[in-house]
């Protein structure tokens, strides 16, 4: 069983019902009352107490198939990606972060010791620590609801079905059909982000993948996210190579010095 989200940003109306439903179900605190002046986005980013976040992107480019001058307004409900290969999970030294029976990534708050390794290991900058208890928090994909056969709160609240919850195979086929439909209707720029390992080897695919209408960077997503541990072997090899190199250099230096001393 592999569960996840398919978020179709082309039907998102930016109502933020997902943000509120998430906070209510998970009883997350508010983050303060700050007017940012960044379009309609006042919650700014994902964090320890914001597990769904709607981005608003005003851009001077028309959307394919839309007649609205040289302008469009993109909206996207961002969330933890529940990577197939999760940086946070692999970096967690306590075993607090686990992969669940739903193939999602879950932080066990009673085990988390607040070391923060996961925070730097997430290529998306999703997971974060709460200042008041120091522990790391992120979307659980409503693990408690899934246990009771209920869909996650955000997907339940989404009025336009921009957030669809389900079996990954179903979601991928729905997403594929939607892409073809959009291409037929003139939105040739639509594509899937992180739908599978082939398109995103650095994470081996996302259990929360997206349909986007512009480059990932426009949505504040990395164009080629790579889980740090994925580069582990390479790093060790580099380190070994560097070590050997240094040893050789040191030996050479000593030898040269001796030779030099003789002369």
């Amino acid at each position: 069983m592999s569960k996840g989200f398919f978020t179709d940003t082309t039907v998102c109306i930016g109502c933020k019902a997902c943000e509120v439903a998430c906070k209510q179900w998970n009883q997350l605190p508010y983050d303060g009352y700050h007017f940012t002046g960044m379009s309609y986005d006042n919650s700014v980013d994902l964090g320890a107490s914001t597990w769904r976040h709607v981005e608003f992107i005003e851009r001077p480019v028309p959307l394919g198939g839309q007649t609205a001058g040289d302008f469009s307004w993109l909206m996207m409900s961002d969330v933890c990606k529940h990577c197939q290969r999760a940086g946070c999970l692999e970096a967690c030294p306590t075993g607090s972060i686990v992969r669940t029976e739903f193939n999602t990534v879950y932080v066990q708050p009673d085990i988390c010791n607040g070391c923060g390794y996961c925070v730097v290991a997430c290529p998306f900058g999703v997971i974060d620590r709460l200042p008041d208890d120091g522990r790391a928090w992120k979307c659980t994909l409503c693990y408690d609801r899934l246990k009771d056969d209920m869909e996650p709160a955000c997907a339940k609240a989404c009025p336009t079905d921009s957030i669809i919850f389900g079996e990954m195979d179903d979601l991928r086929s729905k997403a594929g059909a939607r892409i073809s439909q959009l291409h037929e209707r003139g939105m040739s720029e639509a594509y899937l982000y992180g739908a599978d390992a082939a398109s995103q080897p650095g994470t081996e695919g996302l259990n929360a993948f997206f349909l986007l209408a512009d480059k990932p960077e426009v949505y504040n997503l990395p164009p080629d996210p790579v889980v740090p541990t994925k580069k582990g072997a390479q790093s060790w090899a580099s380190l070994a190579f560097a070590g050997v190199g240094l040893a050789v250099a040191a030996a050479a230096a000593v030898l040269t010095a001796r030779t030099g001393g003789r002369s």
Binding site: T10, V11, C12, I13, G14, C15, K16, A17, E19, V20, K23, Q24, P29, Y30, D31, G32, Y33, H34, F35, T36, G37, S39, Y40, N42, S43, E58, P60, G65, Q66, T67, A68, G69, F71, S72, W73, L74, M75, P159, T160, D161, Q181
Partner: protein, 846 residues
């Protein structure tokens, strides 16, 4: 719609997935525009030119649905010879009384006949009919060829002849090509095979000519054959939950339940007069007496008899306008003693907040029922004028009572929303503490009042004593059972108290009682039909078993029009109801909105009365002639056809007529309510429009007290274009001060391309958008946009004009000592304007 009705908008997105084209017309690029196929930026207050332009396009290119127009609309009706159009009189129709500032609609009538309207301003025009009303007359004076210059179709053509694409471009700021694209798309999606729908909300209603905006859309939909058919219609998106319900069972001053008019002191002297003045001789309103008698039986039970005129004299008679603005103005003048405010926050939600509070300060008592201590409840200690030190709380004599209210999850009841669908909601938990539902409050208030009067022998107290008030109560709190109220609304037979199943069973002999005739059937067989929740997947697409829709669980009104004159569907694709020749009755996917056994070929015989006057091709049965009114011969206070008038406060001169504004608009000439009467005035050069955000709910009583919503939109802001920001030195995220003739408010600046400047006649005009949710109580506070808005109204529903006015904007915060028009230098400066003549041609400023 996505902004304010995100849940309903799921169906728009569903339609889009299935290939529908979504067009969004709005001064701003909103969340709706973001997902629409076409966004049309328009100058706020110019919609009649835009819509009139579409009418012009349809008629000019003969794109109307001819069979539909000839048979189902009043296009062929001949109008009196005396009628003169706004084209003839430079912006006025015939019948204008300059002294009274109102119209006499006599010359607007069909030739040789006086037709009463199905709704609207019935009270103005009732009286002894001069001749037969309705269909018989229509048959006498019609021209099915539509060529007679006095027929409605030709009048329409002449009336909109100057509403050309060029005029649209010059007046609305909509580029010609964009306009043509919209008109073409709409026409291409109408006809036998296809239908198009309009959705509107307060962006149309809140204008001094708002009803005529909607009338213009009604003309388009009737010309294109988009009424009474699946996928067609005009959807009024109501302001909040069950506002449709509060019109059906009205909180309005001039209506009784089911759109029966409130008795008028001047005409309706007794029940017979009331019936004579309001029943029709033809069409469905001939049934009026049955609904009126049944209502009186529901309210006064056994006391209501034929002999005493069904206790008609127990009802209050209205002597004039008692709408919100009139009442508040009276209040500010000291003429109103007490005020109930239930689930409303007029200090923030209504116009000219300072004047609202001035009214509240003059009351003896005020009752507020809400979840939280709203600005209305706290007007005596947390108001701008109190912060400024102009008014001290100890000087306010008003006694304020605050009652905590139950939320919708804490009570049983129905919601009636946009599509006339009644949906029952069940109580999930008891309300906390002393909180109670409004129903419970009103019930127990009534019960206590009746107790107070119990021993009275005074005849004037009879209404209180005879009022039926025996609803079931249950539990320790003696909570009233909402279902027992629903049962009374549904109606019952007086003899054995059995629920009535359809309004056809109602009688005018006192044998039936019914609280609201259009709701009859919602409690059919003693079962709560509104609580039905059969999923759409388990029934046909009309989904008649989800909730219950008035009237008679009909999902599309006037659906006889979904079939052609012979009773057959216009097309297979748009099949809905049709005439079954074998069974000799109407049938279909929905409840046919027609007399079930009336064949399409039926024509009323000479001298027919009552329902017999409805011919087989009269789908619009509520109108006396059974036709859709392209031209309204009666019922509107500001003209039979929509004409473009500029808002009371406009940046430009009316490009179409010498008459600048709606001549029949309502104004309040008082020092606390000054108007900016000039156009093209450098002092107030920008257009201001107000609106709501998804994150907040109306005046904020439900959302500004909740941290999860407040953090999403924490501060009052205004939206301005980068061009205007440059011009005025406004910086994103910084403060700006917005001033109108009434007041000054401050707001954060949001610079965005979503409020584009418009080009009118080569000149650039800026629009400024302000949401209106904030006030000075709650978790997040801010200045209220509605402080800026005047008391000025559409004469038909007395709705304020809050969607288009003039303002200025400056960078920085406002000064604390110069703000409201009810006090301070602004009022003094503007006082010279008071009582200035209305903008009749002779009074225009050049």
């Amino acid at each position: 719609m996505a902004e304010c009705h995100p849940v309903g908008f799921q169906w728009v997105m569903e339609a889009k997935r299935r290939g529908a084209t979504i067009i969004h017309v709005d001064p701003r690029f909103t969340r709706t525009s973001a997902v629409a196929d076409v966004h049309v930026p328009i100058r706020a207050g110019s919609d009649i030119v835009f819509l009139g332009g579409i009418i012009h396009f349809i008629l000019e290119n003969e794109r109307h649905f001819s069979d539909y127009v000839v048979n189902y609309t009043n296009a062929s009706s001949i109008v009196t010879d005396e009628f003169l159009d706004t084209e003839d009189l430079d912006g006025l129709f015939s019948g204008w009384d300059k002294e009274k500032c109102q119209y006499d609609p006599k010359s607007w009538q069909y030739k040789d006949v006086e037709v009463g309207p199905a709704a609207g301003a019935r009270e103005m025009f009732t009286g002894e009919p001069k001749s037969e009303r309705g269909v018989q007359v229509g048959a006498k004076h019609t021209d099915p060829t539509l060529l007679n210059p006095k027929c409605v179709f030709q009048i329409l053509k002449r009336h909109y002849s100057r509403y050309t694409p060029d005029m649209v471009e010059r007046t609305c700021g909509v580029p010609r090509q964009l306009f043509l694209k919209v008109a073409e798309t709409l026409c291409a999606n109408s006809g036998r095979e296809r239908t198009g729908a309009f959705c509107y909300a307060v962006g149309w209603t809140q204008h001094s000519v708002g009803v005529q905006y909607i009338r213009t859309a009604a003309i388009i939909q009737s010309l294109l054959g988009n009424m009474g058919r699946p996928g067609g219609g005009i959807m009024a998106l109501r302001g909040h939950a069950s506002i449709q319900g509060s019109t059906d069972i009205p909180t309005l001053f001039n209506l009784l339940p089911g759109y029966l008019p409130m008795p008028k002191a001047k005409w309706d002297k007794n029940f017979e007069e009331y019936i004579k003045n309001n029943a029709s001789i033809s069409g469905w309103w001939t049934e009026f007496p049955k609904y009126a008698v049944s209502l009186m039986k529901a309210w006064f039970g056994d006391a209501a008899t034929k002999e005493n005129g069904w206790c008609f004299d127990y009802l209050p008679y209205i002597s004039g306008d008692h709408s919100h603005m009139t009442t508040v103005a009276d209040m500010a003048s000291g003429a109103v003693k007490g005020y109930f405010v239930m689930g409303e926050n007029p200090v923030v939600g209504s116009m000219n907040g300072a004047l609202e509070r001035q009214g509240l300060r003059k009351l003896d008592w005020l009752v507020v029922r809400d979840f939280s201590l709203t600005e209305t409840a706290e007007f005596w200690r947390k108001a701008p004028e109190i912060e400024r030190g102009e008014i001290r709380p100890e000087e306010i004599a008003t006694e304020v009572f605050f009652f905590p209210a139950a939320a919708h999850t804490e009570k049983d009841g129905t919601f009636t929303n946009t599509q006339r669908l009644l949906q029952w909601h069940h109580k999930a938990i008891d309300p906390p503490g002393d909180s109670r539902s409004d129903l419970d409050f009103v019930f127990h208030l009534g019960r206590r009042l009746k107790k107070l009067y119990a021993d009275s022998r005074d005849p004037k107290d009879r209404p209180m004593l005879d009022l039926t008030w025996n609803y079931r109560t249950a539990g320790a709190r003696r909570e009233v059972d909402a279902e027992s109220v629903l049962a009374e609304i549904n109606g019952y037979t007086v003899a054995d108290h059995k629920p009535i199943s359809k309004f056809l069973e109602l009688e005018d002999d006192g044998s039936t009682a019914c609280g609201c005739w259009i709701y009859t059937g919602c409690y059919e067989d003693g079962k709560n039909q509104t609580a039905r929740r059969k999923p759409g997947t388990q029934q046909n697409w009309v989904a008649a078993e989800w909730g219950w829709a008035w009237p008679a669980n009909r999902r599309i009104l006037y659906n006889r029009a979904s079939a052609d004159p012979d009773g057959q569907p216009w097309s297979d694709r748009k099949k809905y109801v049709w005439w079954d020749e074998a069974k000799q009755q109407w049938t279909g996917y929905d409840q046919p909105d027609f007399i079930k056994e009336r064949p399409p070929r039926y024509r009323p015989p000479e001298g027919a009365r009552g329902l017999d006057t409805i011919s087989g091709i009269d789908p619009f049965v509520l109108n006396a002639d059974g036709k859709a009114w392209l031209y309204a011969p009666n019922g509107l206070k500001d003209g039979p056809l929509p004409s473009h008038y500029e808002p009371e406060e406009s940046v430009i001169r009316n490009p179409l007529y010498g008459q600048q504004c709606n001549p029949a608009r309502m104004e309040w000439h008082r020092s606390g309510n000054p108007y900016h009467r000039a156009w093209d005035d450098a002092e107030f050069p920008y257009i201001l429009t107000t609106y709501r955000l998804t994150e907040h709910h109306t005046a904020g009583g439900m959302s500004r007290w909740l941290s999860w919503l407040s953090e999403l939109q924490p501060e009052m802001f205004c939206e301005v274009s980068p061009q205007l920001a440059r011009e005025k030195g406004l910086r994103n995220g910084d403060w700006a001060t917005i001033t109108t003739a009434r007041a000054e408010i401050e707001a954060r600046v949001l610079v965005t391309e979503r409020v584009p400047p418009l080009r009118l006649n080569g000149r650039i005009f800026h629009q400024i958008g302000v949401p209106y949710h904030w006030g000075n109580t709650g978790r997040v506070t801010g200045d209220s946009a509605n402080e800026l808005i005047a008391f000025v109204g559409d004469p038909n529903p007395s709705i304020q004009e809050s969607k288009a006015l003039t303002c200025k904007i400056e960078s920085g915060r406002h000064s604390r000592n110069r703000r409201a028009a009810t006090s301070g230098p602004l009022a003094e400066r503007m006082s010279g304007d008071q009582g200035a003549p209305r903008d009749l041609p002779s009074a225009r400023r050049d």
